[in-house]
């Protein structure tokens, strides 16, 4: 697999040629990746992959690839990512589609077009990998109740999108590729018809590459704030698409659109964004949602379109764990920021590249809670918890609940660790900053609030904290348990 990955740096290399930039970083990466890929292929000749080998393969792949992905940054030697720890952070943030950045200054004065394009590309490649992982691999390994993610209904005939993993992967990748092309077309099309002056082809491609994987990297220092309202609305639409279960689009292509519109996860997903978006719209429109009025954008207060757009953009960006920003929400009132932080725990749909806990799990919690109220009154009744289509068995349900506890437990402990490690180097984080840095990386969201806000970055942290956040992005991306099991003694018993 890494063998094929070796070809991908040639894409930014073409970009480098176009802009007369250095192509060496990409050639080096291609050669090293190709060498490692062919080497690994010779090593691994065992076609029978067991359960534990599956975890090792998945975990190590998401470690080795980001390590190799640092090569362009290190060889190019531009800016803050010329240093190994920073490069690893940025590369892991890319391949896990997190989007947390520690680029000091994001500009073409500091970085070449091709390096910034590579940064965008890492997210698109990461998203491809995650799609297969989510829909094909993790459900087979029964990670954190991931079984529910590939089930549309309990019948054995449609338990998988397609009978074989490879076919499933190919179908999903086609959809992913098609939506990426569509995003490029729409972004650049809006430029061509004159409503998006600065959305040239480079920007259109760059942002399409990080929209579909719910990535959030941008070669613009001010993210999507740099673009016109038309672009911002278009990005909202594509983010919603990117956070939807891609298998549902496959059903739409099979002329079964009701599979999408009647899907309980999809409905909850829209409902959650609707509620959070509406609340923030009201707050921004009334002005109580702002702690200071940003002067460099048109007024929000009293402007329905603008307030709605900003509230909805940030809501969708956070719930889908994309992490783009159409304005600096550090200017928001603490209460609105807290609402965004809560929304970071929701996560997008299963079967997408979105991170965090994910709507489908919260759906089950909600169903179990209402069922609990019923069975408390009627203790003799059996009241199975249902997913879209069918009842969920006790084991899966328990796995889902325990996953949420583990996620929140690791979040809590990590918040404390990051907090005190920062205090150690004299970086006095606020509680919200520590909380947001943790959920932003563990949930693969990207930006947080305060010093890790959307227009700032993760540069001020200590190297130890940065490496710890690399760990958080890694485990968060792989549904935590796939990685954690490797650290249990029972994993290594024969």
């Amino acid at each position: 697999m890494i063998k094929y990955l070796a070809l991908t740096p040639l894409f930014p290399a073409v970009c480098a040629l176009y802009y007369s930039e250095d192509i060496l970083p990409f050639l080096v990466t291609t050669v090293v990746m190709g060498g490692v890929g062919i080497g690994l292929e010779r090593l691994k000749r065992d076609p029978e992959l067991g359960h534990r080998e599956g975890f090792l393969l998945v975990s190590l792949t998401w470690l080795v690839v980001p390590v190799l992905g640092t090569l362009p940054y290190l060889v190019a030697g531009e800016g803050t990512v010329a240093y190994p720890v920073n490069a690893l952070f940025e590369s892991m943030s890319g391949f896990t589609t997190t989007g947390s950045t520690l680029l000091g200054e994001i500009s073409f004065a500091e970085h070449s077009h091709s390096i910034l394009l590579w940064r965008q590309l890492t997210q698109w490649l990461g998203g491809m990998g995650i799609l297969v992982l989510m829909v094909a691999l993790l459900p087979q390994l029964s990670v954190g109740g991931a079984q529910i993610m590939s089930h549309e209904s309990p019948g054995p005939t449609i338990q998988k999108l397609r009978p074989h993993i490879q076919d499933t992967a190919r179908a999903l990748w086609k959809i992913y590729f098609a939506f990426t092309l569509a995003a490029i077309g729409v972004y650049y099309g809006l430029h061509l018809i004159g409503v998006a002056p600065n959305m040239g082809l480079y920007n259109a491609i760059s942002h399409a590459l990080t929209t579909l994987p719910t990535g959030g990297f941008s070669p613009e220092a001010r993210s999507i704030e740099a673009f016109s309202p038309a672009i911002q609305w278009a990005v909202i639409v594509f983010m919603v698409v990117a956070g939807t279960n891609f298998t549902l689009f496959w059903y739409v292509l099979q002329n079964k659109p009701r599979k999408l519109t009647h899907n309980s996860e999809f409905r909850s997903y829209l409902f959650a964004m609707g509620i959070v978006g509406a609340l923030l719209t009201v707050l921004l429109f009334a002005g109580v949602g702002l702690s200071r009025i940003p002067t460099h954008i048109p007024p929000l207060v009293g402007d329905v379109e603008h307030a709605t757009r900003q509230a909805l953009f940030q809501t969708v960006a956070v719930v889908t764990t994309t992490g783009y920003a159409s304005m600096d929400f550090n200017t928001w009132h603490e209460s609105s920021q807290v609402v965004l932080l809560f929304a970071m725990f929701l996560g997008g749909s299963a079967g997408s590249a979105a991170g965090s806990i994910k709507i489908v799990r919260w759906n089950l919690v909600w169903n179990a809670a209402t069922s609990e109220l019923y069975t408390t009154v009627h203790p003799d009744t059996v009241h199975p918890i249902r997913n879209s289509g069918g009842p969920v068995d006790e084991d899966t349900l328990r796995s889902v609940f325990v996953f949420i506890f583990i996620f929140i437990g690791i979040f809590g402990v990590s918040t404390v660790l990051l907090y005190f490690d920062s205090l150690r180097i004299g970086l006095d984080l606020t509680g919200l900053e520590a909380i947001s840095a943790t959920i932003a990386t563990l949930g693969n969201v990207g930006p947080g609030v305060g010093i890790v806000g959307p227009m700032n970055g993760f540069l001020p942290f200590s190297p130890m904290s940065k490496l710890y956040m690399v760990f958080l992005m890694w485990i968060g991306r792989l549904e935590i348990l796939s990685v954690l099991v490797i650290f249990t003694p029972s994993f290594w018993e024969r």
Copy 2:
């Protein structure tokens, strides 16, 4: 039951006679309570109590008694609790053993000795009620997995402490009463031997009455800070006792002390307080745990005994949900306050009057999490989750997990509601203040941080917020579900 409760105001009445204060408030309360009690007794002649009637009885009792408990405050007409909403808040806070207060000024200039004693007594009475509820009633009603609370092991012979609810209640009450007397003895004894100058008999009785029910009310404005280190250590010990499963003490009396020392819940309970206490001790000792150094108490920094005492006191007070304070932790650094806030979600042991989520539930979460790691690696093995002594069935486990989700969900929504209702009246809470006010009331802890800190109170909130917090204390005390079910349509279907 209310009939017997009618006699309790006679106790502060005696106190009033001693201090030559007004006894009218207590006589009125006795007459009204007696009237209501006899009236209810005539109404209810049905000895067969069904499942739903059980919920109604429990919920309404914890509503009617606090309403009647406002009478002394209203008739006495002293200070801020002379107003109905405030009186209801203070009374509910008493009978639910919460200890959140909105007395404006706590002093004998403002309030009579007898009224403040009544306030203490409400907590002691509430604690008596909760003990029976926890060990005898709720497990039978299967509320939030409360089944696990009365089980020591799954064998049918020791599933209940004693075969009948009435016997169980009597045994627990004897232990409760004995420990209360012991606390009075120790507190007053320390006074007599000269190491607690201001712990007279009135104070000794008053504080014993709110230690054992994990209540936390104090007739001293500065809570336990007002007393000597010897008293503070003694209170720590009695708080630990108060947060322990009382049924275990019964086994100790039966000459089975290993039942206590080998109990997994008791060990986790001590372990949790040890970890949090040690962390805070280090922080306070080093001084990084303080945002400003309090000048009215001896220095903490560098003093092992003082730092340990303060860290341990606040830890035990919060984990047992007692809510006493031996210093104003508003002077602590935000990080230490966040540690305390996290600890508020732990809760004491089942079978005590402690509130919040409770250690036994977190124990199960931990066991389920480690089991999940194991079964993820070994999917074909069966790995039952165990409680102290025996495996826990899937239904109970699910109830426990769902309870935690419901608790945290209500906590989250309530934080937002209290926050915005406060903003409405121009009370600009910080995030931590809103969070702490919610968990302090829902978890029956008592004080929070900032404006609801241990030396401040809940007076500044709007009447609507106060009534909402009355609701939170009420549902939190009754394991939430016992109350919530009443609001479901299916409860009222015949």
